[in-house]
């Protein structure tokens, strides 16, 4: 099934370094909360970085799946989930199948 391609904004929290995702109103550690920023994505990234709400933000493409956005590139899927070799340290440690879905 072909899902719509969306543009989402991600970066790291300045103080903690945590991976964060733009929700339309703020930042979340969970990619499921990310929203399609469309043509505004770059402007959102610039504005939020200037306001120190996020560190080194950038825009990625993702597929809008029923489970939430799925980044096009494996690097961003690993960022969204955590290291595939340490599921206990992932964003969803109780989800045993999560690492496989990253790939």
């Amino acid at each position: 099934m072909e899902f719509e391609t969306v543009r989402i904004v991600t970066g790291n929290d300045l103080a903690t370094g945590d991976v964060t995702w733009w929700t339309g109103r703020g930042w979340s550690r969970h990619i499921a909360d990310a929203v399609d920023a469309g043509a505004e994505a770059e402007a959102v990234a610039a504005r939020e970085e200037a306001a120190r709400h996020v560190n080194v933000p950038y825009v990625i493409e993702a597929k809008a799946t029923p489970d939430g956005p799925r980044p096009a590139h494996i690097k961003d899927r690993i960022r969204a989930y955590g290291p595939t070799v340490r599921p206990d340290l992932s964003i969803a440690p109780a989800d045993e199948g999560a690492a496989e879905r990253v790939l």
């Binding site: 790291n12 103080a15 370094g17 991976v19 690097k75 290291p83 070799v85 340490r86």
Partner: protein
């Protein structure tokens, strides 16, 4: 071990406070990320995939028990209860918060540690032989010279902004356990025909995207000229190394383009000038440093015999224990490569245990190896069984040193923002495929090394079998290469053909090693057989 003097301690403490203020300015918004990035990198703080990563310097890989316990404490208090020992004998934490970084550096300073010059275009942590001071085959302990280099290179004003990073390794044995010819400068201490101690100087080696073996620049450098000659080597590089293209900025490119003879000529010319500056320390200063590395007070009269009636213990002794120059003693290598584990990772509890063992049984010393294992350098043979039992209970007694499951692997795409593919899962699958110790031992020495990108932190160019992860149209793909070596017979591995999927490369490694079993002659390692018969039979087995 070397002990900081008041100058060492004060400059490290001053750097902590300087960084504390810089981090506060970043957190308050006074500094932008562009302004802050070079400052944090000077203190080993990277921003990686999931968080900040902090790289701690472990000079020439030598640690005291107290220092190892501090590493465990930091992992427990500020990170996620583990650390990752690297191919440059350092340690990395993967989950650091910027708001904690200065406190961590302050805690490290209390045990004479820091993260200075673990990043940036400067002279990085000096690496050395993990068996230094213990190896039966060494001319002298190379660590006093490595320490002299550390002091010379720390905050060296002329070499803070080199064209690119700069790595130096020092050994004092014919057997090369530090891959010296794959460093920017590789130094081998030796004696000349008159019995004098000096250095064989190799310059311009390296891995990365353009692997090169360092040519010999000086066959015998008298020790009295050591620092002046190092200064001259760096000056010529600093003056003429390329700054227009970071991929051509390492000294290996300069020497390749100039030619070794012309580089040598320029260095010798510069050396004549530098030598007039009085840079080399007086003998008394070197003796002061060397005294910190005096041999420990070994017990004498200890037996050399080891009771090997326990077969599991015997396997471990055979694989992970090496000869020591002191009778009745041995060198223990603790494998951080359990089957299915993550190469180089150790939990806080494991670090504490290794510190305890070092304190109790190894004169308070540990070493980190470039193959991501830990060494207890001075162990009485009578204590080996006790040590083995304690290691075994903590999952640290895998008897696989230099076998196919003793894999070097970089953090790869699971952690690293530069990586194109994951390294660790490939290492885990290969280790699981060859989980049988009997099978591994039958295959003998196989140095398998995996990098997740062309930067080659996993040393794949120097692997008997090397694996390089690449991004092929958004998919992870793995190139296989054979024939590398980081030992005294240094060679660069060659790519064998088209790449593989993750599972495909595991199958290919197995086919290669089965082919080796069929073709080997008595006493041949995989590398020897490959060098003798060439690629063709392996390629046929793998690609059909």
């Amino acid at each position: 071990m070397y002990k900081y003097d008041e100058y060492d301690q004060s400059i490290v403490e001053a750097r902590v406070e300087e960084f504390r203020e810089q981090a506060e300015r970043r957190l308050s918004g006074e500094l932008s990320e562009d302004q802050f990035k070079p400052l944090r990198l000077m203190n080993g703080l990277y921003l990686q995939l999931h968080a900040y990563m902090l790289r701690i310097a472990i000079p020439y890989g030598t640690l005291s028990s107290r220092q190892m316990r501090m590493l465990a404490h930091i992992a427990r208090k500020y990170d996620r209860d583990y650390g990752h020992f690297t191919t440059r004998q350092n340690l990395q934490y993967n989950w650091i918060k910027l708001e904690d970084a200065a406190d961590i550096l302050a805690e490290l300073a209390t045990v004479e540690m820091h993260a200075i010059q673990t990043s940036g275009n400067c002279i990085r942590n000096i690496s050395s032989d993990q068996f230094a001071g213990a190896a039966a085959d060494e001319v002298t302990d190379p660590r006093p010279w490595a320490e002299l280099l550390r002091q010379w290179s720390t905050f060296h004003p002329e070499f803070t902004y080199l064209p690119r990073k700069f790595k130096i390794a020092v050994i004092a044995s014919e057997e090369d356990r530090a891959a010296v010819k794959l460093h920017d400068i590789g130094l081998q201490i030796r004696r000349n025909e008159a019995g004098e101690v000096g250095f064989r100087v190799f310059v311009g080696g390296g891995m990365g995207r353009t692997p090169m073996i360092a040519p010999l620049i000086r066959d015998f450098l008298p020790k009295e000229d050591f620092l002046s000659y190092m200064e001259a080597c760096l000056r010529v590089y600093n003056r003429y190394g390329r700054r227009d293209n970071m991929y051509k900025a390492r000294i290996k490119i300069l020497i390749h383009e100039l030619g070794a003879d012309e580089y040598r000529r320029q260095v010798e010319e510069e050396f004549l000038h530098v030598k007039t500056l009085g840079l080399d320390p007086p003998a008394g200063e070197f003796e002061r440093i060397a005294a910190f590395f005096a041999p420990p007070a070994y017990e004498t009269g200890l037996p050399d015999e080891i009771d090997l009636s326990d077969p599991d213990f015997a396997s471990w002794v055979e694989q992970n224990v090496h000869a020591h120059k002191q009778p009745g003693h041995a060198i223990v290598t603790i494998s951080l490569k359990p089957v299915g584990g993550i190469p180089g990772d150790a939990s806080s509890a494991q670090m504490d245990l290794m510190a305890d063992l070092a304190e109790q049984y190894s004169f308070d010393e540990l070493r980190v190896t470039h193959a991501q294992n830990i060494v207890l350098p001075h162990v009485a043979k009578r204590d080996l069984h006790t040590i083995w039992k304690k290691l075994d209970a903590a999952g640290l007694a895998t008897p696989n040193l230099d076998l196919v499951s003793d894999i070097i692997a970089c953090p790869g795409l699971d952690y690293c923002s530069l990586a194109n593919a994951r390294s660790i899962p490939v290492a885990q699958k290969i280790a699981q495929r060859f989980a049988s110790l009997d099978r591994q031992r039958d295959l003998g020495e196989v140095k398998l090394k995996i990098s997740g990108c062309i930067n080659a932190c996993g040393h794949h160019h120097a692997g008997h079998i090397g694996i390089l992860g690449v991004d092929r149209k958004g998919e992870e793909n793995y190139q296989l290469s054979f024939g590398g070596s980081g030992a005294e017979d240094t060679s660069i591995a060659k790519i064998i053909g088209p790449g593989f999927s993750e599972d495909g490369v595991v199958d290919a490694v197995e086919k290669a090693l089965e082919t080796y079993r069929e073709l080997r002659t008595e006493g041949e390692r995989f590398l020897d057989t490959y060098r003798r018969v060439g690629l063709a039979p392996f390629k046929e087995a793998i690609y059909g």
